[in-house]
């Protein structure tokens, strides 16, 4: 996106991550070989259905994985500037949860959760909750922390910060509460902000405002953001890069234009086509048949094959590798193999893409 081809600042690099959970009914392979890079100031969106492993991935980065989870292999390398101004790289998978919690959570990597009702402490004033991290991590005095908190409340668009400072969460509306949660996340100037479905619990009108706010703050503070969502409208609004996850694997990744205007994986087609846009006039929605796979069972071949109307014979036998289809676009589907037969994008999606292309051509004239 920048004119110069300068080397971008890598903040986070995940390689071959495999995570499994031990349950009463057997071992669940929740994450199967995830690879991801995050650069300073950029936004990645991880898209997928529930159970696709998107939350597990970020919870591992935060070191808050459930206790029955085990990292089988892989690394999560995080590069940061420590308090003495030295640039350091650590592998988060090698640290204990306690170490991550004391040194990184909140200070370097912060998270905004889905539901502001449950992620705020109802018995503590808003000011106190925002100050908590500053006092613990930055060693500020109470006065300094209060000054910073009032400034933060203003930054996140809460008016009368003085009054709000001593109020309790229940005295605020849902949108205001989510703003407080964002203020808490930003209290210690983190490098990485992880947003786990930050707007699903909010109304559409408020949703847009919160996303715009996160975008504005991201620009001001030059932080990297990871979004987890299943809402492609949200992704379209915020992301630079998109990773589509299915059954614990990233099945398609690329920059936002590649994913939205030139999707290659049948699952991405399905996701895009099943979202009604307001210009759709057809009488039936495109639906992906079936349900997500049970990860308790060993997956043979492509996990999506059974729901995939375009599946080839090989899809049921061998898991597809990541094919490079040009640019930053990678797709894990045998359809991208040069030997595969040519298939057409579903009718509805093709119409929409054509319409968008036409509009774009008109805009350029």
């Amino acid at each position: 996106m920048s004119e110069k081809k300068e080397k971008k600042d890598r903040v986070l690099s995940i390689r071959d991550l495999n995570i499994s959970f031990e349950t009463a009914t057997g071992t669940i392979n929740a994450i199967r070989g995830v690879r991801m890079d995050l650069f300073r100031g950029e936004t990645i969106a991880i898209v997928g259905e529930s159970g696709s492993g998107k939350s597990v991935t970020v919870k591992t980065i935060m070191g808050i994985m459930a206790s029955n989870g085990r990292i089988e292999s892989g690394s999560i390398e995080y590069t940061f500037t420590d308090d003495d101004g030295e640039v350091k790289t650590v592998d988060l998978t090698k640290l204990s949860q306690k170490e991550i919690r004391y040194k990184f959570n909140g200070r370097h990597i912060a998270m905004v959760f889905q539901d502001p009702m449950t992620s705020l402490d109802p018995t503590m004033t808003i000011g106190k909750q925002i100050m908590e991290g500053m006092l613990a991590h930055l060693g500020l005095s109470k006065e300094e922390a209060k000054k910073r908190t009032l400034k933060l409340l203003e930054d996140v668009g809460i008016d009368e910060p003085q009054k709000r400072f001593s109020q309790y969460p229940h005295q605020l509306s849902g949108g205001m509460r989510q703003r407080v949660v964002i203020a808490i996340a930003l209290a210690c100037d983190p490098d990485i902000l992880i947003c786990d479905e930050p707007t699903t619990a909010l109304d559409v009108t408020i949703q847009a405002k919160i996303l715009e706010l996160i975008k504005k703050l991201q620009k001001e503070k030059n932080i990297s953001v990871i979004y987890i969502t299943h809402d492609l409208g949200v992704v379209a609004k915020v992301a630079d890069y998109v990773d589509v996850m299915y059954a614990g694997r990233i099945i398609e990744k690329g920059n936002i234009d590649e994913i939205f205007y030139d999707p290659r994986h049948p699952y991405t087609w399905g996701l895009l086509a099943s979202m009604p846009d307001t210009d759709t006039s057809s009488t039936r929605l495109f639906a992906i048949p079936g349900t997500p796979p049970n990860l308790l069972e060993k997956i043979e071949g492509d996990a999506f094959a059974v729901r995939n109307p375009y599946a080839l014979a090989i899809d049921f036998k061998v898991e597809p590798p990541m094919f490079n289809v040009g640019g930053q676009h990678r797709v894990a589907s045998w359809l991208c193999d040069p030997r595969a037969p040519k298939v057409e994008v579903p009718e509805q999606l093709r119409q929409r893409l054509n319409r968008i292309r036409k509009e774009e051509a008109n805009d350029n004239i």
Partner: protein, 310 residues
């Protein structure tokens, strides 16, 4: 079959107030009127707290309406219900709830859950007839016979919502109220369930009241739409009226907030905001203004002129 001009459900000046303390009453629904015609889908949209769910629950008489009239298929069901009217209401109006995890009794098998309504209303000849009715509705919603002997927790979210739909439709109702029936489901499953509801409507001619906050889905499924805000129905019209010619600033702000799966549009879009107090809109002062035969807006004369001029 009733003629098309005869509404299946006629709501007039419906109010639902909840007394919280001696000095404070929540006016969840504050005087709304609308009609639903047989065979159509009426979408009710609005933000949380706008009173759309309360409206649905009052219509099916989970609450005692504070004031107003509800005429369902020619019967007044707003006052105290006679035994006969109650039976009529309980068989002919059904509800699909939001959370398929919470609305199915975990201790009952699917067979018992779906058959319960029929049993209570004695709508079967013998045990065999009852079971056949359940099997046939299960097949209609895309599940199989074997599923009848399982418990709810053995199903996925989408399948559970199908059970919820089957439970509503087994009574062969005239009106189904779907209260946020798809918002708890995954995107790909949402499309499956909406398609199913549409197919069943084509087959059985059921009328739907579809309550939701997701406008793009509402547009897709509804014939007519009512927009609610703070207990008032601020605008109502055909889907086309609402989407191509929105009048009320609240409707406009809702429409401008619909996310689109198109990054170029989405990145440059700034959503409109609407603040009732800043705009000086008083819902209680407004009266119904007709934009066209099918399209009505709640506004004062002055507001109506200002908004239509925009």
């Amino acid at each position: 079959m009733t003629t098309f001009n005869e509404p299946l459900l006629h709501v007039e000046g419906l109010k639902q107030h909840f007394r919280i303390t001696r000095h404070y009453t929540t006016k969840a629904v504050d005087g709304i009127s609308f009609d639903i015609y047989p065979g159509e889908t009426y979408g009710l949209v609005g933000e949380s707290g706008s009173g759309k769910s309360t409206t649905g629950r009052t219509l099916i008489r989970l609450y005692e309406p504070t004031a107003g009239k509800i005429i369902f298929d020619g019967r007044d069901i707003s006052g105290k219900l006679s035994k006969e009217d109650e039976k009529y209401l309980r068989t002919n109006m059904q509800m699909i709830f939001q959370d398929p995890m919470a609305c199915l009794n975990p201790r009952k098998k699917v067979m018992e859950i779906i058959a319960q309504g029929l049993e209570i209303q004695h709508l079967y000849k013998d045990r065999n007839d009852l079971e056949n009715k359940v099997y046939s509705i299960l097949e209609k919603v895309g599940l199989s016979r074997e599923h009848a002997s399982r418990y709810p927790q053995q199903f996925s979210g989408g399948q559970r919502q199908r059970i919820g739909i089957a439970r509503a439709l087994v009574m062969n109702p005239k009106l189904v109220i779907a209260d946020e029936a798809i918002s708890a489901l995954d995107v790909s499953i949402q499309a499956q369930v909406v398609n199913l509801m549409k197919d069943l409507q084509d087959e059985l001619g059921t009328t739907y009241l579809f309550i939701a906050h997701d406008l793009s889905m509402v547009k897709y499924i509804s014939d007519r739409i009512g927009v609610m805000h703070l207990g008032h129905l601020v605008e109502t019209g055909t889907t086309d009226d609402i989407f191509s010619n929105p009048i009320h600033p609240y409707t406009r702000s809702l429409l401008s907030a619909i996310p689109k799966p198109d990054p170029h549009v989405e990145k440059n879009r700034i959503s409109l905001s609407y603040d009732k107090d800043k705009e000086g809109v008083d819902y209680n002062a407004g009266t119904i203004h007709h934009v066209s035969e099918t399209h009505q807006v709640l506004a004062t004369d002055e507001e109506f002129e200002r908004w239509t001029a925009m």
